[in-house]
């Protein structure tokens, strides 16, 4: 998946992945895609929940190199 920005939250625990995600999305244009790298197990439910709460689109997630990759489109 091609992303406009990558935010690295590997090694960080709750609530930092979504705090970093929020900062990243804030700096983007509408329609752009953000790639979030995280290895906190809670991110699996936190990232889609954050998207639902903030009205941004959760596209997908996939296994990365020692972490998971989450793709979010800014609404």
């Amino acid at each position: 998946m091609k992303a406009d920005t990558t935010v690295d939250a590997v090694g960080l625990l709750c609530p930092m992945p979504i705090v970093k995600l929020s900062k990243g999305v804030k700096a983007m244009e509408s329609g752009q895609v953000l790639e979030l790298l995280a290895d906190d197990a809670g991110a699996d439910s936190d990232v889609p929940a954050w998207c639902k709460k903030t009205g941004n689109e959760f596209i997908s997630s996939e296994e990365g190199d020692g972490c998971k990759k989450y793709y979010i489109r800014k609404s």
Binding site: L12, L13, C14, P15, I18, V19, S22, K53, T54
Partner: protein, 159 residues
């Protein structure tokens, strides 16, 4: 989102674990687009104390409280397994190695995320904690200020 949702939390406890839970929820909510207000009252006021030399209390009773209360966010005990301070030391060490935010870092993050922090002036009066001894960038208020925020909030917590 059309209108910004609000969350208000009463921070009553002066213990590390409860303070961390509070700051975790508060910063998470702010990062999710909510407008967050934290009201620090009673034991909770201690975590707003700034580093370094303090003005302190003026009366003997006030000075005794000053000695017994935690001197800032890095001095809070645990509510469980504190074991005379050994437990909280172990917890801080463990959290650092797991890269969890420390309480002072959480307070900085809260200010960065525009979380409104209000110190209860009644508690400050009772425990003789002067404004000069608290961190910058906070507000001061009483029950009406809290009720005003709480009545507009989606939900309120008491921790």
């Amino acid at each position: 989102m059309s209108e910004q949702e609000k969350l208000s939390i009463i921070v009553f406890s002066g213990e590390l674990d409860k303070a961390l839970a509070t700051m975790n929820i508060a910063t998470g909510a702010a990062a999710s687009g909510m407008e967050v207000t934290l009201f620090f009252t009673f034991w909770g006021v201690s975590m707003l104390k700034k580093k370094g030399p303090k003005k302190g209390a003026s009366t003997i009773l006030g000075k005794m409280f000053d000695k017994m209360l935690p001197g800032g966010p890095d001095k809070l005990p645990l509510s469980n397994l504190n074991m005379g301070g050994m437990g909280s030391k172990m917890m801080r060490k463990q959290m650092k190695s797991k890269k969890v935010q420390s309480l002072p870092e959480f307070l900085e993050l809260a200010q960065e995320l525009d979380i409104k922090m209000v110190a209860c002036t009644m508690s400050m009066d009772v425990m003789e904690i002067p404004k000069e001894d608290l961190i910058d960038g906070i507000e001061y208020g009483g029950v009406a200020a809290f009720l005003n925020e709480a009545s507009e909030s989606k939900f309120s917590l008491f921790i």
